[in-house]
Symmetry: C2
Subunit: 209 residues, 2 copies
């Protein structure tokens, strides 16, 4: 798995463009992983959208991760599911899917991260690194210090999320993240392909240096 | 499975009483099956409530069915899941759970019912029999005529739902339903136990006669 530039979709922030259009542009720009996040549609609509995105992503060998709905991830045989602290607990989710699917966990604290690794998460979304307007239900920002503490405590991949963009992506990588999750920095960009390409280059430089 | 008096919970209609309290009273009154329906809480809250209801129901050997969220049904190893026409399609759901779980399908038309039987539903919720204020997103009422048409076309158990109460439960049974689903008739009753007991007796009489 390559988590370096991890797109999280958000229909409400996409300025009227379809999620498929955003995903296609972002993949052309260089995202390495896509999480489909849909909070306000029926399961059937979510599945229809996921299938359309999945068939595009398969051609490009980019993994698809479904937010929250483990059953929808199973229904479409997604590559993974991403669970927050209010979603199905990791132990239950792992018992259901065994090793058939990646499970990512949003950790809002050092303790969350240590537990996620202990119970078999494949990666951790360290959330939020910075305060963000994208989500209203987030915990206090962890900052680079919180990220470094988590980096010291766990070995599995860390994806930073929350308020990340061109101005701070490099420092998040340098402070221990394996990847950057972008929401509005890509989905709200006038040119999502260009935004993804710029972030991709920033991350590449940060990894090298 | 005994679907004769099938309680569907609704927190918003329960007049401030907990779902567990309503379920306990309804079981004392004679409900034979409980569907837990939660539309406005997190998966983790839904699971916590489902586990508390489940441990009570197991003592009384009453099956627990989870509305909509197949993953939550799997997480707690519920007896079944109930899916509407906007939820995960039956074929996908059956492929996920195999025969480990009952699957009920809400049919809003004769065609829905025939398809549900063809693709392996364990029972059908015929919905709505009458117009109801409980749900705002329902199809036009099927009436007793619609119920009879479905009864002729499929062999699996039928549970009528939608606007059912003491005044009309008997005619729904006599027109082909194997059971009555009650929402507000029980959860909004001043005395849910008494309401369930009265409905149970009405159904018993209708089955005999």
């Amino acid at each position: 798995m390559d988590y370096t530039l991890y797109l999280v979709t958000d229909r409400g922030l996409s300025k009227g463009r379809s999620t498929l259009d955003i995903v296609q542009a972002a993949v052309r720009g260089g995202v390495t992983c896509v999480q489909l996040r849909e909070k306000n549609c029926s399961a059937r609509e979510f599945i229809a959208e996921a299938i359309s995105v999945q068939s595009f992503l398969k051609e490009h060998r980019i993994p698809l991760i479904i937010n929250d709905r483990l059953d929808i991830a199973q229904a479409i045989q997604a590559d993974g599911v991403h669970l927050g602290q209010n979603d199905i607990p990791l132990k239950m989710a792992r018992a259901i899917v065994k090793d058939s699917m990646l499970i990512g966990i949003s950790a809002e604290s050092l303790q969350d991260a240590v537990e996620a690794e202990r119970y078999g998460a494949d990666y951790i979304g360290v959330s939020p690194i910075y305060a963000t307007a994208t989500k209203s239900d987030t915990a206090p920002a962890l900052g680079l210090k919180g990220l470094r503490e988590i980096r010291k405590a766990v070995k599995i991949p860390l994806v930073g999320i929350g308020g990340l963009n061109r101005s701070n992506a490099a420092e998040v990588i340098r402070n221990g993240a394996d990847g950057i999750a972008a929401v509005s920095a890509i989905v709200s960009a006038d040119d999502p392909e260009k935004a993804a390409a710029e972030l991709s280059e920033i991350i590449r430089q940060a990894v090298i240096l």
